[in-house]
């Protein structure tokens, strides 16, 4: 005996396909109740009608409409009006799904991280131009040591000679016209403005990342954790990646070149940004990257699958391992 059901009705049939009992639901005119019905079905639970029939016929095997295990029978299919109501409900459910995508930290992280990268790239170009521009008029100026305050100094200066005094250098005979000087000042204002915005956005990235991936952020730092998450297209995918893939995330070009031409494989991708790797001698970076990637992979899984939060002692033990690898390989390998 079979218990057949769909979102609107349920029926009991014997092996020959004769319908023995039938329960129908007439609440389909209200879209809201159809939506709750669809949610029941989507979670593979029984509808109230199916439950009632299953109490009446405990040995009937419940199978949803369309299951290949069901016998052929004249099942009570919904009328076309009921189907219209179903379509309406499905569309509302889809809308809800689209709305809830806004709550997905993976997507939010992607936008803000990429926006930060773009803004930072813009900042680097216009800041470089400012330095060259000022340097043209003040050849004596030297910015090698510290140029972080240059933008504010320029925008706070009344004129080129004022700037020269602020920078404690001599004034050359040729200077910009007043309008040209104004353009330089405006330019420097946007340089400092963009820098402030980049810093603010990075703070947001840190916040989201610490919230979304606490353990990985603790191990690698929130910005690097966010970068890995975005590169892997989401926390869940990152957690499912093998550690070897995590190690070279961000080095795809080198990796596929390696597959194609047999060039040496990349040792590290984004993970290189971590001082454990970038501040190590060249010949141990691969070893450290492999170890750190394996640890990061575990941390990512802890975050994605609700594992234990990583404490300071685990991070410390990883740091000790890095130190051990560095001391064990303190000399470059002999060729």
């Amino acid at each position: 005996m079979w218990l057949w059901y769909d979102w609107r009705s349920a029926a009991i049939a014997d092996a020959e396909g004769n319908i023995l009992d039938l329960e129908e639901w007439d609440g389909w005119k209200s879209t809201d109740s159809v939506i709750s019905r669809l949610e029941i079905i989507a979670h593979s639970a029984l509808t109230p009608e199916a439950k009632r029939l299953s109490e009446r016929f405990p040995d009937a095997i419940p199978l949803i409409h369309g299951d290949p295990g069901l016998p052929d029978a004249n099942w009570p299919l919904p009328s076309s009006e009921a189907m219209k109501s179903l379509d309406k409900a499905a569309i509302i459910l889809s809308k809800r799904g689209v709305d809830s995508a806004a709550g997905d930290p993976d997507r939010r992280l992607e936008h803000i991280l990429k926006a930060t990268d773009e803004l930072r790239a813009a900042w680097i170009t216009i800041e470089g131009r400012l330095v060259e521009w000022v340097g043209l008029f003040l050849p004596e100026a030297r910015f090698e040591k510290d140029r972080s305050s240059l933008a504010t100094t320029v925008s706070n200066s009344e004129s080129l000679s004022d700037l020269a005094t602020n920078l404690e250098i001599g004034m050359p005979p040729v200077g910009p016209t007043p309008e040209e000087w104004k353009a330089i000042v405006d330019w420097s204002t946007s340089v400092s403005e963009i820098k402030t915005r980049v810093d603010k956005m990075e703070t947001v990235v840190r916040e989201i990342s610490l919230e979304h991936m606490p353990s990985l952020s603790k191990l690698l730092g929130p910005i690097l954790a966010a970068r890995l998450c975005v590169e892997a297209h989401g926390r869940m995918r990152l957690a499912r990646l093998p550690a070897g893939t995590l190690q070279i995330l961000g080095a795809e070009k080198a990796f596929f070149n390696h597959l194609k031409t047999g060039a040496p494989s990349p040792k590290h991708g984004h993970i290189f940004m971590h001082p454990w790797i970038s501040r190590s001698p060249k010949w141990v970076r691969g070893k450290i990257a492999r170890m750190v990637a394996a640890k990061a992979s575990i941390a990512a899984r802890c975050d994605a699958f609700g594992g234990e939060l990583w404490g300071d002692e685990i991070i410390e033990s990883v740091a000790n391992k890095v130190e051990l690898l560095r001391t064990e390989n303190s000399k470059p390998p002999r060729r």
Binding site: W7, I41, L77, L86, D87, L93, S94, V98, A101
Partner: protein
Amino acid sequence: MAKLRQISWAVVVDGRTLWTRNAVPKYSQYGEQLRRFKGVEYRRWDPTRSKLGAGLSRARNTQYDLLPNPGDTCLYLGAGHGTSLSHLHDHVCGNNNEKEGRIIAIDLSPRCLRDLVYLEKIRPGLVPILGDARNSSSWRMMLPTKVDWLLQDVSQADQAEIFIDAAKKFLKKGGKGLLSLKAASERFDASGDKIIFTKVRNQLEHSGMVVNEQIDLHGLEDNHCLFFTTMK
């Protein structure tokens, strides 16, 4: 002007270009050209933007059979941003769903669904659903009876398995099933895309489907092939 050739009530071929009768007058869906033929507005169907359009313009023998009948129930797996879907809607549903068609459009990405939900507002007859083509349990109740026409355009591994599974579950006997296969989504085969296409063709034939035509979309959509099958 080249001679007009009618493929269906809503689809015409003018020389080599495809046009569909615009179900939403004066509205260009994705920046395509609008044009009047004998006082009726048509939208240009760009074959480089739509694999269904590419298949239709490349088909040799089956051009007149490829599309569903107006008013059919259709299932579209991997509807994307709705480019192909809008032209399919022009044909199956028409203005304000005058043909009473029903197109169930499934896509996994919320970004795509955002566009599809908007499309549904101006094109009644569409039912966009946020779901996985591979996992039909979340949307199977939308199809109490089997469909007349199935199109699958998902770019993920095991495209053929997903298609066969969907066709067995949801496609009527004698119903038309179109599979747009992206060779690059399948496991890499050093012997080339053609081998992949042949493998998939055999796979389809072994699972009880008739392959009416295998349409190579090279030039319009590289490394793609559209299989036009019928359910036995």
